[in-house]
Amino acid sequence: MIRNISILTLNDLAITIKNKTILLVFFIPLFVFVTLKLVDSKPAVPEKVKIGLIKNEIYDQKVLTSIKSAPGAFAVSDIADLEEGKELIKEKKIDALLLKSEVLIVLKRQSITTLTVLESFQALQKAVEGRNVNWISKVESLIVADVQKQSLPIWILMLVLLVSFVIMPSQVAEEKEKKLLVSLLQTPMKEIEWLLSKVLVCMILICVSLVFLHMISDMKIGFNIHYILFLIIGSFCFSAYGVLLGFLCRNQATARTLGVIFYLPHLLPAALSEYSAKLSSVAPLVPSFQFIESVKKIIFEQSTISQLSFELTYLAAIGLLAVGLSYYLLKRRWLM
């Protein structure tokens, strides 16, 4: 009995090596290690609070002098007007904008940055006046959304990546493994038709899952054509990417492994970038970051497609590149 169990165990191990599942065993710890290296070891709080002050605004002299006399805690930027200040907050060039009526404008109320800004003000006031009452009377957030809605972009990204990188590569590889693609190539079907049908079916699956997500959740986005168009372009990019991953594999098991290997690095840096300065510098390289950031801008800042032309072009280019590569491999009858 033990002998047979040993034989079968060894056989299963050989299969995991052969179908490359073993890669996951090494890849996941390696990925965690690299990600931890990229995540700041200290909490992602700014060393200095970057505060914006509007040029012609009349501030409380005591507050103004205190801020300017604490260069170790505050980096002051002079801002022309309120609109410019809001733009700089959105671009994350300043952490907060102070108005004369002790109103502080921040990007998101529930964020580590906002907490740091308020703590810094409290500490400064205590040092100047010895009191523990905050100079800030009101905090206004540029992003007005509940926590559920704020998590929406992450769920969207998860769904898009799940369909593209886990479901689709497996389906494409299955057609190769079972020689169904070879049969289809015995018909007058053009290679590009097969390829585009795969991209299209993946886009449909993504769209159905997103519509379902919006229907069952209570997150009201309303009819926003910019949002819909962006999701379509995003789903095209990742669908084409997923089809390419599937095409690189000979069988379903390999495709699943490769899908997970690509899924995590696309999900985590994009989702965690705001918690780490290092990650936020690396994350823009992955298309999922461009996707999730744009979705956030459309949902929370009412950005339009024209304002997101770079991100849109980037995603469309990645999608087209993936289609081009898949087409080349299909023409070469890669691993068929």
Partner: protein, 224 residues
């Protein structure tokens, strides 16, 4: 009908098909014989456009191998394993391919009748025996009624009765004027079937002649 000139495909392990040339005339029934790894399947895969050759020239009924969209109207390729959509019915599998060939639905009905599949039209392929699956696979390949048919190990894994059934079909197609190339590693089986035998050994063609000549030659006893 089929002209092959210096067709070559070499894999990493120095296996494959080394420069091979031959011609097949219309309505010949040619058996390509050889051991596993002799290059039989490589040859058929190249002829059916599912593998690209390293070099060489192939024309089938005047159409070059590179013109796949033209070529698929001339050839049918039946692979060793019936590659069908398992979760769908026999009829669905045939209809899908008929649509891709732009054939009318009547052709699907006709094929099901010709191959005795009408009783299984709504049965999922998953639930069919291997022999029936092979019959569906042949029926599907022959939907457009092409003049040339390639069979890769058509009797592999089939029992005696099913093997006889496949050979009966091959004879029928041949009698209908089709040009047929099929591979086998069991030459004894096709003694009374093929009109011509090509023997491949380690990627090279070592015999081209009639079955009688082949079985009289010392080559058969050397190889088998």
């Amino acid at each position: 009908m089929i002209e092959i000139e210096n067709l070559t495909k070499v894999y990493k392990e120095n296996r494959g098909l080394f420069p091979t040339s031959f011609k097949v005339n219309k309505a010949e029934l040619v058996a390509i014989v050889g051991h596993n790894g002799a290059g039989k399947s490589t040859l058929l895969k190249i002829l059916s456009s599912s593998l690209l050759p390293d070099s060489g020239k192939v024309t089938i009924d005047g159409v070059d191998l590179s013109s796949r969209l033209e070529l698929v109207k001339k050839i049918a390729f039946v692979s060793e394993t019936p590659n069908l959509y398992d979760f769908f019915s026999v009829e669905y599998n045939l209809k899908l391919f008929a649509k891709l060939f732009n054939l009318p639905h009547s052709r699907v009905e006709e094929t099901m009748n010709n191959f005795n599949l009408s009783n299984f039209k709504k049965t999922k392929v998953l639930n069919l025996s291997k022999g029936l699956k092979q019959r569906v696979s042949i029926g599907r390949a022959l939907l457009p009624d092409p003049p040339v048919i390639f069979f890769d190990e058509p009797t592999s894994g089939l029992d005696f009765e099913m093997t006889k059934e496949v050979f009966r079909l091959l004879k029928e197609f041949h009698a209908a004027g089709k040009t047929i190339l099929f591979t086998t590693h069991r030459p004894e089986e096709i003694r009374n079937l093929a009109t011509r035998i090509l023997v491949l050994h380690k990627g090279k063609m070592v015999f081209d002649g009639t079955p009688d000549d082949y079985f009289k030659s010392s080559l058969h006893s050397e190889l088998y």
